[in-house]
Symmetry: C2
Subunit: 426 residues, 2 copies
């Protein structure tokens, strides 16, 4: 007998079927036993007459029986069970209350991450992220981008020595890539012109806050032959206008479970960093760091934009040279500023992007000014000597975007098995 998914049983009324899944709950009532089984599509109720022993919660079972209408059951149908087989019996004492109304604290949930994920409200973030990644790729492929896979073990940090994890690479010292930045630029210059990568990036951040993890999934893109940084921001507007409605539709259940609302961004407002700092200063009553926003400042700017424009996204633009990496393109009309942007969403930076320098001499000058050794960037610099188009790109933090989309309190909730300052397990 072919397995039926829980979401499908109502299409099999009057038929003998078989379902497989986890026992979410059991209850016995005067000789009748009810078993709620969950699979990846939802739950079904099976009813057994005169059944004494029931498997412990979270055991994996196979149930067979006949489907009949029962309006109090999930999906309006239940299974009149003829057989229940334990495929994997769970120990009776669960380390956390999986379906409990009272959520365990974050550390307990992360210690027992696999069991916590058995609650579909908890795993919703993973399903939303899967759909976001698919939407990101499908949009970019339709725009002529090629997916690439770049090295994660590198000889030199992208932006110098900070926040690097050291790797022992045979007899040499190497590092984990903080981003695919230099490689995606090189691949633009290889003639692919438009590339994207969805992959892990590593930051040896000492910060251990609700917005920091030490490995995250970066949705990276880079494109050649741009006219200005505006081309990159417009691409992100179109990307979000495609991806968010798609996620809202494909993950309607997940979004409802989270009590979330997916915005439909069109044209996203732009705010110069100095205007943004001023808005944050007024909102918070204290100064922002020079040329930048504090985390509270990002929240204040988002609130300001929401109040004045009704929008939940805002591009903050024109960051000073001192706040950006060596490869950021200076603004020709004001060389102390860069053609760069951050995208804030509901008070959190979810994207960093900009136009990059494509002139070899300018890059060499910047490397020196940043105190970096051009010899260590030789592999990167070569393409700039042999024809590099004007280009720019961006990186979206997948976990951060998911977190904000679902209104989660901690970026760890949008990560399968987070790594942070103290957590290396499970």
């Amino acid at each position: 007998m072919k397995r039926t998914l829980c979401s499908d049983i109502s299409r099999h009324q009057g038929e003998e079927i078989r379902i497989c899944g986890w026992v979410q709950a059991t209850r016995s009532l005067g000789g009748i036993a009810f078993v709620i089984v969950r699979d990846r599509t939802g739950t079904s109720q099976a009813v057994f007459e005169g059944k004494a022993e029931l498997p412990p919660q979270q055991s994996v079972v196979e149930v067979s029986g006949m489907v009949r209408a029962e309006k109090r059951a999930p999906g309006g149908c239940e299974i009149v069970g003829t057989c229940i087989t334990e495929l994997s019996r769970a120990e009776p004492a669960l380390p956390l209350d999986i379906m409990g109304k009272t959520q365990s604290n974050v550390e307990v949930m992360l210690d027992h991450r696999v069991l916590a994920l058995r609650n579909p409200r908890v795993s919703a973030a993973l399903r939303v992220q899967s759909e976001l990644a698919a939407a990101f790729r499908d949009f970019l492929r339709s725009e002529g981008f090629t997916e690439v896979f770049t090295p994660k073990i590198v000889a030199t940090g992208t932006e110098g020595g900070a926040e690097l994890f050291e790797v022992k690479y045979f007899e040499r010292q190497a590092y984990l890539a903080q981003s695919p930045q230099l490689y995606k630029q090189m691949l633009v210059g290889s003639g692919l012109e438009r590339v994207f990568e969805v992959g892990p990036v590593f930051r040896a951040e000492e910060h251990n806050t609700s917005r920091h993890i030490n490995q995250f999934t970066s949705l990276d893109l880079e494109m050649g032959f741009i006219e200005s940084v505006e081309d990159v921001m417009r691409l992100e507007e179109r990307l979000l206008a495609y991806a968010l409605p798609r996620v809202a539709k494909a993950c309607a259940c997940e979004i409802e479970m989270a009590g979330a609302r997916v915005p439909q961004p069109g044209s996203i407002p732009r705010l110069d960093i100095e205007e943004a700092r001023e808005a944050a200063r007024i909102g918070l009553g204290h100064e922002m760091p020079p040329g930048n926003l504090s985390p509270e400042g990002e929240k204040a700017v988002s609130e300001h934009i929401l109040e004045t424009t009704g929008q939940e996204f805002v591009f903050v633009t024109g960051y000073p040279v001192t706040s950006r990496p060596f490869y950021a393109m200076p603004d020709p009309t004001d060389p102390s500023r860069t053609k760069s942007f951050d995208l804030l969403f509901r008070g959190l930076e979810v994207t960093t992007g900009g136009q990059r320098i494509h002139d070899h001499e300018m890059l060499l000058r910047n490397l020196s000014a940043w105190g970096l050794d051009p010899a260590k960037f030789e592999g990167y610099l070569e393409v700039f000597r042999f024809g590099m188009p004007p280009h720019g790109g961006l990186a979206i933090g997948a976990e951060r975007l998911t977190t904000r989309l679902l209104g989660l309190g901690n970026v760890r909730e949008a990560c399968t098995f987070p790594r942070d300052r103290t957590r290396l397990q499970p």
Copy 2:
């Protein structure tokens, strides 16, 4: 004026257009200059009358002019150029002959990888791999799989201590993940049931051959509620039956450039490892290693299958327990063997898969038998105590599959920037 792509200019006959790209070749003939420009879609020819100075090869230019029919030009049209602007001037002495008929040696090509990729025959492998990854994901999503992103920094090696790169994780010792194996199993048990991941895996292999790289892209999947290992092999058959024709169509130019032929696999033959060893022994005239095939043996088995069945794929099944990791499911009818398989394609192993143990006690026994410390696998083992479905999965080496599909000599050619025993740059 909006930019036109080289592949599109024939649709703009009689119009003023603008193209951007790399100067692939120039030539002057009695007061007339020809410039061949390449972009990501192909090449176009621009003609300039009375033009003296031409940009060096590989410079990035913008050419504007009017399109007219010219049957000797690529695509049957050329641009009567009015203006050519250098966006990025290339140095005149290129470190390798990019479009040369005589290929440089592999090491030179890898040292100057970005420039080598300017030859579309060289970058073909990257475009094919991008399409393969997309096909892998699209097929699995249509089968109810969720994409996941698992930790690449881990506390313990998947299969013990061998071939691990060490990472300094703050004050602790950690490792780079050799595969997402344990995590994808855990995520099956989290209730997602069917998961896949496309991501980097790291092997501190001392081997430095044409089939080894130290970071590769693994197309990983794992599925719950299988009846047997056959379910996993049948899924791979359907996956390949979907993916290969799609790649053949989307990458027809790349495949033609490589002089390759894409097979259309249906049902793939199965060969027990002992039969495979015997076929290899007969073909090669010497014994295979116990319970396994040598690289030459894999070639011999593929030749044998091609001769006897006409097929280019073959599943080798039933590997002994001693050739597989601790989590491989033993064959209940012969506990010295496992419910596992490799897929050989044109003489190379491109997939490893199998059914996994889902019983907690059996796993504990195996960990001890393998000399591994169960305490180090606590995070992995928990899910087996609280309801784990029968499950199995596989991993496809993306670079190896691409290599064999295109008939390339070295797996490095299917990698953006390969990492090997001695190469950490570019």
